[in-house]
Each structure stands twice: as structure tokens, then as C-alpha cells.
């Protein structure tokens, strides 16, 4: 077992265990902070997969952005005086059975499929330059569309989230 394999098992363990905590924990705050470790583990897996730019992006956007947003959501939608931020579950046994079956099916499929592995051990190179070049050439249209989507999402989120008096007046509408 090489160092690479050990690092993979380390990150995979972090990712899977904390993802399990996210899915199972009754405490919302525990779930939110377990999500932090999941994102870190996934970033480590990206590094092992020769995706350095993507790993940093994962840390910046997921940990720095999305997780903070989710924590804000937790804080804003619960009474702060509640010490225990519990969450209810519904139909957990049917859900567990179905999800276990889906996961087992996926794992069996992944195992028995004869994947066409082209590059077993490529030379590790920095990907940032090539990725930037791709975004400016072959992925130019999706890149521009993504920027427009982000702008629309920004404006839309601000518009939806603010308290609007005129909407309150139209309750009987």
C-alpha cells in the first residue's frame, strides 16, 4: 500500500463518515459541521485525482460560501433560544432501505462494469492554466451562461429573501 493509497483511504474515510453524520444526526448543527468535513474530504480526493484547481475551488466556494450560507439558514430559521436544534425525520426505515438498495446497486454496477481505463498513471501537472484556456475557448458559451446565471441568482435571491410590505398587504389575494 503506497502513500497515495493511504491518503485516499484517509480522505475517503473522512468523507463517508462525515457524510453519514450529515444524513443521520438529529442535531442540525452537528450535520452542518459534519458537512464541513465532507467538503474537506472531497477536496482531498480532488487533489488525489490531479485536480488542484478544483480542490481549491471546492474549499473556497463550498466551505467558504455554501456552508456559511447553510449555517446562516440554520440560525435564521430556528429560535435562537432553543438550545437543541433538533430535526424530525419521517419514514426513516423505508428511506434507509431504498437508499441502501440504491447505493448497493450503484456499487455493484461500478464494480462489475469493465471500465475503459485509458490513463492509469498520468504525469501530475498543474491544471489551472489548461482549465482557464478551456473556459476561454471550447467552454466559452457555458462559461458566459454561468456568469449570467450567477447574476440572475444573486438578484433573485436578494429579491426573494427581503421582506416586502406590499406582499404582506396582499394576503387575501
Amino acid at each position: 500500500m503506497t502513500l497515495y493509497d493511504a491518503a485516499f483511504y484517509f480522505f475517503a474515510l473522512i468523507t463517508v463518515v462525515s457524510a453519514g453524520t450529515v444524513a443521520m444526526s438529529r442535531n442540525i448543527i452537528y450535520s452542518a459541521f459534519s458537512l464541513l468535513f465532507t467538503f474537506f474530504g472531497v477536496a482531498g480526493i480532488y487533489v488525489l485525482l490531479n485536480a488542484d484547481f478544483l480542490a481549491i475551488t471546492q474549499l473556497l466556494i463550498y466551505v467558504g460560501g455554501i456552508l456559511v450560507l447553510l449555517l446562516f439558514g440554520v440560525m435564521l430559521t430556528n429560535k435562537v433560544i432553543d438550545v437543541e436544534l433538533k430535526t424530525g425525520v419521517m419514514q426513516s426505515w423505508p428511506g434507509a432501505i431504498v437508499c441502501g438498495m440504491v447505493g448497493g446497486l450503484l456499487i455493484v454496477l461500478f464494480r462489475i462494469t469493465d471500465w475503459n481505463i485509458v490513463q492509469a498513471d498520468p504525469v501530475l501537472t498543474a491544471t489551472t492554466f489548461s482549465l482557464g484556456e478551456m473556459f476561454m475557448t471550447s467552454y466559452l458559451l457555458p462559461f458566459e451562461v454561468a456568469s449570467v446565471i450567477l447574476l440572475v441568482a444573486l438578484v433573485g435571491a436578494a429579491l426573494i429573501a427581503r421582506k416586502d410590505k406590499s406582499v404582506q398587504n396582499q394576503k387575501g389575494f
Binding site: M1, T2, Y4, F8, A12, V16, A19, G20, V22, A23, M24, I28, S31, A32, L35, V42, Y46, L48, L49, L54, T57, Q58, I61, Y62, I66, L70, V74, L76, T77, T87, G88, V89, M90, S92, G95, V98, C99, V102, G103, F110, R111, I112, D114, N116, I117, V118, Q119, A120, D121, P122, S130, L131, M134, A146, L150, A153, G156, A158, I160, A161
Partner: protein
């Protein structure tokens, strides 16, 4: 059809289990997916539902990057993964805004209690 433990390595020998191959990454992503799915279908709290969706998006991203590394796709998989992250950020912002709006109107974010389109 090669079994899990019998993927021939470059040296022609058969490596068993411990050597990390494409399948290992796919299995991690499958586990992440099923945990995310479990969170989505069983949680009542809308915020935790969003966390489950983030788990699912992350598992999809692991698949993209793993195939980009092993499948000979060069960097296409990583480019797609960047777009997935961008869309996840947009989705999280919009969904949080909607959840906050729901909380203002219904005073709860439990998705099974918010079943009316109007107050």
C-alpha cells in the same frame, strides 16, 4: 467483465483491492450519493434537505473528476465539475432565500408542514 479484485495493473499482475483504482473513487461517490439521498428523503427540515442535495452534487463531481483522471477525458470532466460547483452556489443562494421566505410566512421550515400554496 472483470471482478473488483481482478483489475490487471500496468505490470500485468493482478492487484487486489488495496491499490486505488477508478472503482474506489466511484464507490466513495456512490456512498456519498446514497447518504445524500437518505438525507433528502427522510429529513423534515428544509435546510437539511439542501445539505443532502449538496452531498449528491459532490458525489456527481467526484465521478466527473475520477473519469477525467482515469477515463482519458483530459480536463473536460474537471471543467464540467467547475460548472457544477457554480450551479451549486447559485442553487444554494436561491434555495436559502426561498427557505427564509417560507419561514417568514409559515413560521416553520419543516417541509411536510408547508403544504399550502397560499396562506
Amino acid at each position: 467483465m472483470s471482478a473488483f479484485g481482478a483489475i490487471p495493473s500496468e505490470g500485468g499482475k493482478f492487484s487486489i483491492d488495496m491499490h486505488v483504482t477508478l472503482t474506489h473513487y466511484l464507490v466513495v461517490s456512490a456512498l456519498l450519493f446514497s447518504f445524500g439521498l437518505f438525507a433528502v428523503v427522510t429529513r423534515r427540515n428544509a435546510i437539511l434537505l439542501l445539505m443532502g442535495i449538496e452531498l449528491i452534487l459532490n458525489s456527481a463531481n467526484i465521478n466527473f473528476v475520477a473519469f477525467s483522471r482515469y477515463g482519458g477525458m483530459k480536463l473536460d470532466g474537471q471543467a464540467i465539475a467547475v460548472f457544477v460547483i457554480v450551479l451549486a452556489a447559485a442553487e444554494a443562494a436561491i434555495a436559502l432565500a426561498i427557505v427564509l421566505n417560507i419561514y417568514q410566512r409559515f413560521n416553520t421550515v419543516n417541509v411536510d408542514e408547508v403544504s399550502d400554496l397560499r396562506e
